[in-house]
Symmetry: C2
Subunit: 445 residues, 2 copies
Amino acid sequence: MPGLTHWHSPNFHAYYPTAHSFPAVVGELMSAGFGCVGLSWVASPAYTELEVAMMNWLGKLLDIPEEFLNCSEGPGGGVIQGSASEVTFVALLAAKEKMVKDLRTLNPELKEADIKGRLVAYSSDQSNSSVEKAGLLGSMPMRLLPSDEKGRLTSTALIEAMEKDKAQGLIPCYVVACLGTTPTCAFDDLSDLAPVCKRENVWLHVDAAYAGTAFACPEYRHLMKGVEHADSFNFNPHKWMLVNFDCSAMWVKDARYLVEAFNVERIYLKDKHKGLAPEYRHWQISLGRRFRALKLWFVLRIYGVEGIQKHVRHQISLAEYFEELLRKDNRFEVCTSSMGLVCFRLKDGDKPTQELLERIHERKIIYVIAGQFRGVFVIRFAICSRLTQRSDVDYAWQEFLSQVEFIIPSNKNIIADEINEKKSIATIELPSAACENINCNEKSK
Amino acid sequence: MPGLTHWHSPNFHAYYPTAHSFPAVVGELMSAGFGCVGLSWVASPAYTELEVAMMNWLGKLLDIPEEFLNCSEGPGGGVIQGSASEVTFVALLAAKEKMVKDLRTLNPELKEADIKGRLVAYSSDQSNSSVEKAGLLGSMPMRLLPSDEKGRLTSTALIEAMEKDKAQGLIPCYVVACLGTTPTCAFDDLSDLAPVCKRENVWLHVDAAYAGTAFACPEYRHLMKGVEHADSFNFNPHKWMLVNFDCSAMWVKDARYLVEAFNVERIYLKDKHKGLAPEYRHWQISLGRRFRALKLWFVLRIYGVEGIQKHVRHQISLAEYFEELLRKDNRFEVCTSSMGLVCFRLKDGDKPTQELLERIHERKIIYVIAGQFRGVFVIRFAICSRLTQRSDVDYAWQEFLSQVEFIIPSNKNIIADEINEKKSIATIELPSAACENINCNEKSK
C-alpha cells in the first residue's frame, strides 16, 4: 500500500505497537454494520451492557483491585474511552471536581473559580505528551518533574514540588503515574508515590497505556504494586492487547466524580430506565459511542487469557533477544530495556547515534524512531507487529550492523564471533546494498 | 438482533439519524484492516493527506467559504473529529487561546489565569447538551439564553446577556450558534448574531451537526447566510450524510489558535517532514487517529453530489408528508417542522401527549422520543433510516392513530376522509392489537 506507514510489518519497530488482529477487525466490522449509537442505555442496551461485562473481564484479566470493577458493590467502574489522552484528561476533570467538592465541604466560603485557579498537577518528565496536553486542556498547570536514573517519578521529587507549590498558595490536585513510560517503558513505583497522594488528598491516576497488557501475566504484576491506592487506572488494549485502535480501558474507584464533572441532563435524553446501568455518556467527552465492547469480546473469546499471555511473553522474549545482540557488539550500548522496548545508542555519543538513525530512515528497510533518556539521544527499538518473529529481529539487527559500519567500521573481533557463526552471514565485510540482499535472503528462509 | 435498538429500521424515528451506508462500512473495514495510527504525518502520510483532500471536497460540497478550507491560502483548514461534542469543546479552547492572546497584546500586564477565570460563553436554550458540557469541560460558564418563538438565539438576547456579564467584570469569549437545533431543528440567524460577535471580538462557532448535510442542496444554503463571519463550523457526516459514526467535520478560519491550544512537542514525535502537512494531533484531544477519511472517500465517490442531494431531499419530503398527515387530523398540532424532523403534540395538552408517547413506547412498534418546545411537551418524529419510505411513514402514522384512539376517541369525521379512502384501512374503529396486524399487513405490501 503506497502512502501508508506499515505498522503491522514485522520490520516496524517505531513508537509502540498498535494492536491488530482479525477478531478485532471482525468486531469493528460488526459494530459498523449494526451502526447504532450508544448515547444512552436505551439507545442500544447491548452497547452498555456488553461494555460493563467486558470491562469486568478485562479488570479480572489484569487482576486490578475489585473495587475498580463495575461488578463490585461500590461506586467504581470501568468504561471504554478512545485514547489514553482522553482518559488522562477525563481523570483530571474528575480530580478537579473532587478537590473543589472536598475543599468546599471543609470551607463553604471558598469560591469554585478561586479553587480551580490554584490547582496543580504532577507527572514525570518521562510521561507521554498527552499528559502535558491534559493539563493544557483542563487549565491545570502540569509539572513535569525530573525522573530518577531509572526514568521513574519519585516521592522525593513529588514532595518537593508539592511543598514549593503549596508555599505559593497553590493546591496539589492530580498526579499521573506511569507504568511503562513512553520514552523507555519505565515503571513509576506506585507504592512510593501513593502515600504522598493520600496524605495530600491528591487524585492518583495510573497511565499504563502500553505496558498494562503485561499484567495479564502474573509474573509482571509486581510492577503495579500499590495500584490499590490509585483513584483511576488506564491501559490501552489497542496498543498491546490485539484490539484494534480505538479501545482505551479506564477504571475509576468512584465514578460519581466523573459523572458530576460531565452530567448535563436534557429532556430528550431522559428515559425511565435510568439508574439500572451506567449512562456512559456521563463518563466521557462525547455523547455518542460506537460498539467498541464488541472488539474486546471477540479478542477475549478467541485468544483467551492464555493466548494474550503467550503474545505478551513472545514479544518480550524478542526484545530480550535484540538486547542480547546489542550487548555482544561493543560499539553499542543498551540504555534501557523493558517489556517489548529496547533503547540503545552508539557508545561514541549522540552524533554518531543520530547519524545511524538517519541512515536507517533514509534506507526505509526497517522503521525505528529517536528518543531521549537522561539527556542523551537514543534509538528506540520496539517489538510492534503481532507477526514479528526472531528472524525479523535478526533482519533488523543486520540492518543496524550494515549501517553502523559506515560510522564506526568494525574489525571482525568487535562483533562477537558467536553471532557470525550462528548466522553464517559475513554481513560486516559487505557494502550496504549487498547486505540488503543477504538480509532479504535470510528473511525468505 | 436482541438487545440492540435498531437505528436503521425504517420504523426508527427517534433522536436524529445516525448515518449508515455500505460504502462507509467498507471504509471502516479497510481502516481497521490497515490498522495504522495517524499520530503524525510520517506515522502514515495517506491518513493526513486524504483527510486534507476530503475536508476540501466536503467544504466545497456544502459551499462554505473558501477561507475555511485547507486548499485556501490562509491559515484555515478542516479536520475530522469524533463528535460535535468534541468539536464544540475544541473550538472553545481555541476561542480561549485567542482571547487570552488578544487581551494580553492590548495589556501585557494581565495574567493568563485572571483572564481565563472571567471568560463566558453563550448559546441558546435549544442547543445540544454537548454545548453545555463543553462549557463544563472547559471551565467556561455557558449561558443558555432564551430562544425566540422560532427556537432561535437572537442578537437582542445575546447583547443583553453580554452587557450584563460585562457589567460584572466578565469577558464574553465564545458563542455557539446552531443551524438545526437538537429539539426542533431550528436555525439561528447567523447574519443577526455575527455583527455582535464581531463587535465584541467573540469567537463564533457554528454547530450544524445534523442539518449541515442539507447545505449540499443549494436550496437550503440561505439558512447558513452569514457563515462567512464564523470562526469555526461543524457538521456531522455521521448524522445525515451516510458516513458511519464517527465522522464529525470541523473547519476553522485560523487553525493557529487550535494548534497553540494543543501543541506539546516531544522528541519522539519530531521528524523532518514537519510543516508540509497539518499535524492533526495538534487539532484534537487525542494523539492517535483512525483513517476516517476513507469512509468519507467511499461515500463521496459512490454516492456523489447528486446521490447525497437526492438522499437529503427524499428524507425531507418524507417529513413533509408526515406533517401533512398530522395537519389533516385536528386532534394533533404541528409545533415545528424543519428538515427531516417534525415536532407535534395533541391539542389537548401535555398530559395526553405524554400518554400517547408512553403507549407508543410500551408497544415498541415504532420508536420516537419526547422533546420540549416553548415549555410544552412534544413528540419528535424524525426521518432517520436511509431505508425509510413513504409506506413507513404511513405505518408510523397508523400507529399514532391507533393509540390516540384510547386517549381522544375520534369519530370518523375527525380523521380526514381522504386518508381513509386512500389507505382503505379502517384503523380507527379497531382495537389496538388488530391495528397492529393491519399495520403489519400494510407494511408487507
